[in-house]
């Protein structure tokens, strides 16, 4: 063996800054609508386009949502909070400052618990603060030769909660799971849609490597422009490898901002496009301080729903569901509610879980709906399973009934009744059909009598065809055999 220098083992250090759009009806400092879309500059007023002489007035709901989110992230809610101006120039920021919070955020010192590959990790949350969103720019011309930009301020002033994690994340997979949990919690609270593709959840990451065991952090880069959970994991994996190569060749990582390029699948330096990181924060003189009373905090606390991880554990304990099922079902509040309503109507949790995880999720995927958008109620899924259990319909027919339920939102009984889908279990009715099939297939009957038992299946198939799948198959099979024997 040659005496090559032993390669250093590195530890990855990741911290995430997440912005979530809060689902208030009106903007954070004025009464314009927060509605997504809409013709450009139609949800705007002198406040949110930053005309001189206007005054911001804080939206109470935005504060409530931020406190709610802070509590769910195990933060201490600060009893004294204030707003500050963050100064920088960019055309999407009409006042040339963003109203944000600097040294007195709404909440501090929280954490999120995540589980990756069977291992539990507690990721610290440094802070959660309120701020206003910026407008939207459309660039004219090409990247290399811009002829100007068009600005739409509809988004300007939409409330954001910025959630900053501690540098506790050690792998790209953990970063992704942190986001999954964060989104799930926000969705349970009903404070944000957290849709990365639509921009209601945005994530920047600070990434650095350090020799394992070293306390000091290495030089970090900031990665931006990741538009899905998958992109976050891919971008961070790329960035970790890139930095590792630099360190292995005994060079230095350059501290800079890098943008993830989804097509090239690599991070690209944004040098030159970077803002000067000197924001000259100072207290926003147009807003008064915020004292969040214990009473208000307690009121919000009492209103907190059961959160995803707790609910998952309960699904395992109370319904005896496998961990996998419990995880899938509690991913969104709407799906978990659907399951519980269904399980209340049909007392076999695993059967309910199977139906939701296969049929229901398949339909949601097909129709590109989120669990909250489906017309089917949990009670109806329970009732459908009851119809299978008491032999009113076969499970094959049940799938057709479910298709209809999914489109119309009708009760399963009603569909079965209206479409005449009831399973035929009446012996007289079945006997008549069996006679018909026997008469029409004398050779097959002869084969069966001569011991070719497999041919029974063919005849049952004929019966099912004549009844459009409504004959009770077990009953038809038994009666057919008896009839042939009897001859």
């Amino acid at each position: 063996m040659s005496a090559t220098k032993q390669k250093t083992v590195y530890e990855t250090v990741i911290g995430l800054e997440v912005h979530v759009q809060l689902k208030t009806d009106s903007k954070i400092f004025c009464s314009c609508s927060t509605e997504f879309g809409g013709a450009p500059n139609t949800h705007t007023c002198p406040v949110c386009i930053g005309l001189p002489g206007t005054l911001p007035v804080l939206n109470k709901k935005a504060v409530e949502y931020a406190v709610k989110a802070g509590l769910a992230l195990n933060c201490n809610i600060c009893d004294y909070s204030k707003f500050d101006r963050k100064n920088y120039f960019y055309p999407d920021l009409p006042k040339a400052y963003q109203i944000s919070q600097y040294d007195k955020p709404v909440g501090e010192d929280g954490y999120i618990e995540i589980e990756v590959e069977g291992e539990e990790h507690k990721i610290g949350i440094t802070r959660i603060h309120l701020e206003e969103d910026a407008g939207k720019l459309i660039h004219e011309g090409t990247i290399d030769f811009s002829t100007g930009s068009l600005v739409d301020y509809n988004r300007s002033g939409v409330p954001l909660a910025e959630i900053v994690s501690e540098p506790d994340i050690r792998t790209p997979a953990q970063a992704r799971e942190y986001l999954v949990q964060l989104k799930s919690i926000m969705e349970y609270l009903g404070v944000s849609d957290c849709n990365m593709e639509e921009g209601s959840l945005r994530c920047d990451a600070n990434v650095s490597l350090r020799p394992k065991g070293q306390k000091e952090f290495g030089i970090k880069t900031e990665v931006k422009n990741m538009n899905s959970f998958k992109a976050v994991e891919k971008a961070l994996s790329f960035e970790v490898q890139r930095q590792k190569k630099i360190l292995d060749s005994e060079k230095k990582v350059v501290q800079e901002t890098r943008a993830w390029d989804e097509d090239l699948e690599e991070t690209i330096s944004m040098r030159g496009k970077e803002e000067a990181h000197d924001y000259r924060y100072f207290p926003e003189p147009d807003l008064v301080p915020l004292e969040i009373s214990r009473e208000w905090i307690n009121e919000i606390k009492e209103d907190l729903p059961e959160l995803p991880r707790v609910r998952k554990k309960r699904f395992i304990d109370e319904y005896g569901l496998p961990e996998y099922d419990a995880g899938v079902l509690t991913d969104t509040r709407a799906l978990a509610d659907l399951f519980e309503d269904a399980a209340a109507a049909h007392n076999e949790p695993k059967a309910v879980s199977n139906w939701i995880m296969s049929e229901h999720l398949r339909k949601l995927n097909e129709e590109e709906l989120s669990p909250g958008e489906s017309k089917v109620k949990g009670r109806q899924i329970g009732e459908l399973l009851n119809l299978i259990e008491d032999d009113t319909i076969s499970s094959k027919i049940a799938k057709d009934v479910f298709e209809k339920m999914f489109i119309t939102g009708q009760d399963p009984e009603q569909i079965v009744e209206e479409e005449g889908l009831k399973q035929i279990s009446d012996e007289g009715q079945l006997e008549a059909i069996i006679e018909e099939v026997i008469d029409e297939n004398p050779e097959v009957v002869e084969d069966i009598k001569n011991g070719k038992d497999k041919a029974v299946g063919y005849l049952v198939g004929q019966i099912m065809q004549k009844t459009k799948g409504q004959a009770n198959p077990q009953k038809a099979n038994r009666m057919l055999r008896e009839n042939i024997k009897k001859d």
């Binding site: 500059n41 139609t42 002198p46 459309i138 002829t147 930009s149």
Partner: protein, 96 residues
């Protein structure tokens, strides 16, 4: 006291172009302002809570109610340049 370099930096952050004469002038003037504040710094503030506000008000909030926005036409009325319902701005250059 404030250095000429600091004035240059602040001017840059504020996107102000200052010539040599202006730099001298503002270095002197802003230095004077800072010196005055340094006098205030010498005051005994033992036992006085720091504050960022001078008015004794807090918790002024509005309910989350949507009210009518301005029309696109009105909001763009003062725009020096506009296009398809948007404000139009010059190309954004890579600054600094």
């Amino acid at each position: 006291m404030i250095s000429r370099e600091e004035i240059k930096h602040i001017a840059q952050l504020a996107h102000l172009e200052l010539d040599e004469k202006q730099l001298d002038k503002f270095t002197e003037q802003l230095g004077g302002v800072i010196d005055s504040f340094e006098k205030l710094d010498k005051l005994d503030t033992e036992g006085v809570e720091p504050t960022a506000y001078t008015v004794p008000m807090k918790n002024i909030m509005r309910e989350d109610k949507v009210e009518e926005s301005y029309s696109q036409e009105d909001i763009l009325a003062n725009a020096p340049d506009k296009k398809k319902g948007h404000f139009r701005v010059p190309p954004i250059s890579g600054e600094e």
